[in-house]
């Protein structure tokens, strides 16, 4: 069974068809990429999968369960984490604290227990802290654990964001343009981290603009153009696909 099944997903904004009857599947253990020019509907697609806003029609199945009507926090609870194109760090919190928020769904201390520091929460806190440090180590930024997350370099923030998402222990990780704002060197780093995450046992679905990143690491690619899926194949075949070359890669010179 596919981990994520997207079926005829459609989103209309007023008269505009942002995403039009897109269907595809993500198999466990894959790195799958969605590419397409700006305004192709990639981020809209992502937002529908993660529950940020509802689809106009169509369905998303995650681990065989329909996600209709589920809010983002409920989707996260089911084991799907995401990152954002313009990294959304929690300001005023250290890198470690940022990652610790990611353990939210896997811990349970509430208001009363937290205020009175119930003995059982001590162990929970320790586990949260330990696990978060482990993840920071996995992403090779443990030396910045106690730095204010927002003062880190862009690439490091990206790594903290990955760690934070992994703290949810997701079976599927959605990455929204992980290479946005990074230079070639940092992009290569991110590519390495993404494969490391996959090897760690997490399935990855990413939306990306940077072709070099996508071609290097993904197992399969979905190409979107004006809200419609125009191709779905391996990187090698996508690069040879005439329609993709024409519409996406811009061989079609206007003048």
């Amino acid at each position: 069974m596919a981990l994520l099944e997207i079926h005829q997903l459609t989103k209309r904004f007023g008269g505009l068809l942002a995403v039009n009857e897109v269907s595809f599947q993500v198999e466990p253990g894959q790195i799958k990429a969605v590419i397409g020019p700006n305004g192709a509907g990639k981020t809209t697609l992502f937002n529908m999968i993660s529950g940020t806003f509802p689809a106009s029609s169509g369905t998303v199945f995650f681990k065989g369960r329909g996600l209709k009507g589920k809010k983002p926090f409920q989707v996260a609870t089911l084991g799907m984490a995401r990152t954002f194109q313009n990294i959304k760090m929690f300001s005023g919190m250290t890198a470690l604290e940022n990652v610790m928020v990611g353990r939210h769904v896997l811990s349970k201390a509430g208001f009363t227990a937290s205020m009175f520091r119930m003995p059982w929460t001590w162990k929970e806190e320790k586990d949260i802290r330990g696990k978060s440090m482990e993840l920071l180590a996995l992403l090779e930024i443990e030396e910045h654990a106690h730095t204010d997350a927002q003062s880190l370099a862009f690439g490091q923030q990206r790594a903290v964001e990955f760690a934070r998402a992994l703290a949810v222990e997701p079976s599927l990780l959605l990455l929204d343009e992980p290479a946005a704002g990074l230079n070639m060197y940092e992009t290569a780093e991110v590519a390495r981290l993404i494969t490391k995450i996959r090897d760690f046992g997490v399935t990855v679905l990413l939306v990306e603009h940077d072709m070099s990143l996508v071609m290097d690491i993904s197992d399969e690619i979905v190409v979107l153009c004006f809200g419609e899926k125009i191709a779905e194949d391996t990187p090698a075949s996508i690069q040879k696909n005439q329609e993709v070359i024409q519409i996406y890669l811009g061989e079609d010179r206007p003048c």
Binding site: P72, F90, M93, V101, F116
Partner: protein
């Protein structure tokens, strides 16, 4: 544990102030310091709501009034006329009522302060819960106006209902006997005792909130403030956390209302006024929003000065000016200007040490 320890220096200051006033024969300051502590209790609760959960409330005087007025009316209204009522008989037999005689020697049957306190605080919590569900869906101006509207409704109700004494408010509220020999009252002989009760309650509340901020819940709240979208994506049920914080801060406000009413022996409609709510928001802003220590300090200092009448007839104007100046020049609070960093390093040291142990 750590937060208990950080409270200790403050406890020392509280004791020191007592000895200083007693040595310099200025014990009358303790009265205003006691009242300031109760107002500060409300204010630190509001601080968590505004600074950490990021929700403004211009109606917190309303919750204070719900606590104070319910407690005051229940403990003063004579229930003798309804004595035959079965419910009342049950309440009386379960010890929730106290009987006595009023000034003119008439028989008096009223709700006991403990029971009244419970009713008052839980009413505030329930009201906050049901108001909070729709109100907290709003943002920005809408949220500000909606909470302001709530505050005005409460003000109108206490002003309009005879049960709440209309413009005169409620007076002759009895002492609140917490434990035998320990009571919240305005009696001259209980002044020192009450000073310690008030500050004890405040410091205890402070420990609770410090614990809260540095916990799973606190991180979630700060996360919501930092980026609601990202917190949502991390599985934080943002609306539930906001609602719970709203209720928590309402409970703090109600407790402050109950205690201060018993301490003052009465409550009047001005306590429910919009200006009071604005003042609380101002103090939280001056303290630096997401800064419990700053808020506590400013809450005590500003209310103390205001209660001492230092600002005279310009009291409200002073708060208005302070509010504007802070928002114009130091939106991160007065402590952000210079000493905040130092305070952080002092209180942050313990934190770092512990993190290094891990």
């Amino acid at each position: 544990m750590k937060n208990l320890l950080t409270i200790l220096p403050l406890l020392a200051v509280v004791i020191l102030v007592h000895y200083l006033t007693s040595a310099t024969d200025t014990m009358y300051y303790l009265t205003q310091l006691t009242m300031s502590a109760y107002y500060a209790l409300l204010i630190i609760g509001l601080c968590v709501l505004m600074g950490y959960a990021g929700q403004i409330s211009l109606g917190h005087a309303g919750f204070f009034a719900i606590g104070g007025y319910l407690s005051a009316s229940l403990t003063t209204h004579n229930l003798i006329p309804y004595q035959d009522n079965a419910l009342l008989a049950f309440l009386e037999s379960s010890g929730m009522l106290v009987s006595g005689h009023d000034l003119y020697g008439e028989a008096l049957l009223v709700v006991s302060p403990w029971a009244a306190c419970l009713v008052a605080v839980s009413s505030a919590a329930v009201i906050a819960y049901f108001i909070g569900i729709p109100v907290l869906k709003l943002k920005g101006h809408y949220l500000a106006m909606a909470t302001l509207g709530f505050g005005i409704i409460i003000y109108r109700i206490v002003l309009a209902l005879e049960y709440f004494g209309e413009a005169d408010g409620i007076s002759e509220v009895p002492a609140f006997v917490l434990l035998p020999g320990l009571s919240v009252s305005g009696n001259f002989s209980d002044r020192v005792q009450n000073y310690y009760i008030a500050w004890g309650v405040l410091l205890f509340a402070m420990v609770l909130l410090l614990n809260l901020i540095d916990s799973r819940v606190g991180r979630a709240l700060r996360g919501i403030h930092g980026s609601e979208e990202a917190a949502d994506a991390m599985g934080v049920n943002t609306s539930r956390f906001k609602l719970q914080t709203f209720v928590l801060s309402a409970v703090f406000a109600a407790i402050a209302g109950v205690f201060l009413t018993h301490y003052n022996g009465g409550i009047g409609p001005s306590e429910a006024g919009v200006m009071k709510s604005v003042r609380y928001v101002a103090i939280v802003a001056v303290g630096g929003m997401a800064h419990l220590w700053g808020t506590l300090l400013m809450g005590v200092v500003l209310t103390f000065l205001s209660l001492r009448g230092v600002f005279g007839s310009y009291d409200d104007a002073v708060f208005g000016i302070v509010l504007i100046l802070i928002m114009l020049f130091a939106p991160n609070g007065i402590l952000s200007l210079n000493i905040r960093h130092r305070i952080k390093t002092i209180f942050g040291r313990g934190k770092k040490r512990r993190e290094e142990e891990v």
